[in-house]
């Protein structure tokens, strides 16, 4: 069985984890925003910004980690804009988010054209390299899958652990979980609803941008148009699929990435040769829709998601 061979190969699982990494960053970012009560549809555009900013910084001579920081900063800037419009001004989160995605994407393409006017083939950068962790990377299958990845992949899992820890073990996380459920509970305990929500959107957007930067700095090593290609929207589905919990969201991203890695490999099998490649490319999107449908009945949506808060109003 070809499928079985694929599933038992280390390279398949390594690819799955690699594909999952940007999704993990962006899904965590969206999860933070939604836990605080803000749907961030800017995610797709913010990932584009992150992909470009990180790549451009490195191309201009910065080191890789500075590139990641630059990407994060650029994402946070658009997050700040989203936060200002959607939190204190309480504008429709749908409209603001789509507007931010368009603005971020167009600004990126504009900046790309302005900074590299003559270029037809985008230059490549010296990207993050695999950093096998001694001993554990020698374990069969698990080793190459989890412990022979690039530092950014490790960072994705660290980020997931940090987000989970903050959310469930610290006063800040408690306040975040409360503000997305009932902002009045937070206000009545002397905390700032606006501050918490804006902070969540800004930090969440930063993580989304790092997810974008992963594409240029740890996967494709270059920037080209439409490279994010709907990954942001998929992450929104993953947040729902993960029931707004970091652990489940990471599992969802891994599951999703495994399917994606599988379809890439299936294309190269004899079975895949008979099926148009577009069918395989559709799978991630169709799977996301399926995930939304499956989870629709069970999900514990934050009660105040998409409900703006205005002081003194019930």
């Amino acid at each position: 069985m070809e499928i079985l061979d694929i599933l038992l190969s280390a390279s398949f699982w390594a690819a799955a984890v690699r594909i999952a990494s940007p999704l993990i960053f962006a899904t965590l970012g969206e999860l933070i925003c939604e836990r605080a009560g803000v749907l961030n549809l800017g995610i797709e555009g913010i990932m584009v910004v992150g992909a470009f900013a990180g790549w451009m910084a490195v191309y201009s001579g910065a080191d890789l980690w500075t590139g990641v920081a630059v990407a994060m900063g650029a994402g946070m800037l658009f997050g700040l804009l989203h936060a200002i419009l959607s939190v204190p001004f309480g504008l429709s989160q749908h409209v603001v988010g789509l507007g931010i995605t368009l603005l971020a994407t167009a600004s990126t393409y504009f900046a790309y054209r302005v900074s590299l006017p003559e270029v037809t083939n985008p230059p490549r950068i010296e990207a993050f390299k695999e950093l096998p962790i001694p001993i554990v990377s020698d374990i069969p299958i698990v080793g190459p899958a989890l412990f022979a990845q690039t530092p950014l992949t490790y960072l994705a899992f660290v980020a997931a652990a940090v987000v989970a820890f903050v959310l469930y073990r610290t006063p800040l996380g408690l306040a975040l979980r409360a503000v997305g459920e009932n902002p009045h509970s937070v206000e009545a305990q002397g905390l700032s609803v606006t501050g918490l929500r804006m902070g969540a959107v800004i930090v969440g957007s930063g993580l989304m941008a790092v997810g974008g930067a992963f594409l240029t700095m740890s996967a494709f090593n270059s920037f080209f148009f439409e490279m994010v290609n709907g990954r942001g929207w998929i992450c929104i589905a993953l947040v729902v699929f993960g029931a707004w919990k970091p652990g489940k969201a990471v599992l969802g991203a891994l599951l999703f990435a495994a399917f994606d890695a599988l379809q890439i490999r299936l294309q190269q099998t004899s079975l895949g040769a008979d099926i148009p490649y577009q069918i395989f490319l559709m799978m991630p999107y169709l799977l996301s829709i399926l995930a939304l449908v499956v989870m629709s009945r069970r999900a514990e949506v934050p009660a105040a998601l998409m409900v703006p808060f205005n002081r003194g109003e019930r």
């Binding site: 409209v95 789509l98 368009l102 577009q278």
Partner: protein, 349 residues
């Protein structure tokens, strides 16, 4: 800070704030020109000239506005009911696809029969594509924003599959492109010799029909009630699910018509670049028009003008054409902010 409702905004506030928003957009355009190293006033001049500076430019703008009126109406109708249809792009392609399937020889009919049939098919195709997300929304509470967005990607891949496979034009020199429509399937031009087809007229008629529907009929009333307060509408006995489904059919149908108009009026065949994001731009068109169907015509002309003008400008100056998208996104965000501030004032505390 806190927002306090303004009881009576007065016309200075109602008109002044949107004007400030548009002014802000112009300032952003000038700033971007400076960033790109060009004279901002020259760039503005080139954009205006490129959009309306000649008969050719004007016709180009009208042609570009045509699909935007359809998708803008599709979005405006749906958003009124708070049905977030972000999938007009896919619905447009579905309409175009069916027109090409039926109009390239399958139905050898005279124009008077063929064109209405193709129109109807495009409407049905677009409508059916939105029916799924609308059904999932009303039945299972699945967010339609994400489902319609994701369907855009699926649809484009589906069209690509067909254009590289069963529908590939044998004379297409290897390009993924469909066969050309029969001459009987093509929309005539409005005035002989001028490059403007009846799709534009159809768009205007649709805007008028949607306006009448919204202001004069019980369905329009139901759509508005459902959009403004689903809970109260349901309590009052308005069949909310049915209204959302009807809205989805109208919205999807209008987006399907955009595909019909582009293929039958302008291009004559289906390619993967039939729409440079008309479905997404329709959202901006609708929002700038405050979801008013007659306003959609005006804002579609404005948006089309920016695109056509920016295209033309970027050939003459060193400013990338993406400036158009930045401007429209800024206009959208500034405008929703301005409209909110006409209804609320910011007070301290």
């Amino acid at each position: 800070m806190r927002l306090e409702p303004v009881a009576d905004a007065g016309w200075a506030r109602t008109l002044g704030l949107p004007a400030v928003a548009l002014g802000g957009t112009v300032l952003i355009a000038m700033a971007l020109s400076l960033v790109a190293g060009s004279n901002p006033f020259a760039v503005l001049g080139l954009i205006v000239k490129g959009a309306v500076g000649s008969k050719f430019a004007l016709l180009e703008t009208l042609n570009r506005a045509t699909p935007l009126i359809f998708t803008g109406l599709a979005v405006a109708v749906a958003f009124r009911a708070k049905l977030w249809n972000i999938g007009a792009e896919a619905q447009l392609y579905m309409g175009a696809l069916l027109v090409v399937v039926l109009g390239t020889g399958l139905l050898p009919l005279p124009s008077a029969l063929l064109i209405p049939i193709l129109m109807g098919t495009a409407i049905v195709g677009g409508a059916m594509l939105l029916l799924g997300p609308a059904w999932l929304k009303t039945r299972l509470g699945v967010d339609e924003v994400v489902t319609t967005l994701l369907l855009n990607f699926v649809m484009i891949l589906f069209v690509s599959l067909l254009l590289e496979g069963p529908m590939k034009d044998p004379m297409g020199m290897g390009w993924p492109k469909s066969e050309r429509l029969l001459a009987e399937a093509r929309l005539p031009r409005i005035v002989d010799g001028l490059r403007l087809h009846w799709g534009f007229g159809l768009a205007l008629i649709c805007a008028l029909l949607v306006w009448v529907m919204q202001t004069r009929t019980t369905l329009g009333y139901e759509i508005r009630a459902v959009g403004l307060n689903r809970r109260a509408a349901s309590f009052a006995g308005i069949p909310v699910t049915g209204v959302v489904i009807k809205t989805a059919l109208i919205s999807g149908g209008l987006a399907g018509l955009a595909g019909f108009s582009e293929v039958a009026g302008l291009k004559g065949s289906l390619t993967l670049d039939l729409s440079p994001g008309f479905g997404y731009t329709g959202i901006i068109v609708a929002m700038l028009a405050l979801l008013n169907p007659l306003g959609v015509v005006v804002s579609a002309l404005f948006v089309a003008g920016i695109f056509v003008g920016a295209d033309s400008m970027s050939r003459a100056a060193a400013v990338p054409t993406y400036i158009a998208d930045i401007l429209l996104a800024s206009a959208l965000l500034l405008m929703v902010l301005a409209i909110m501030l006409t209804r609320f004032r910011v007070v301290r505390g």
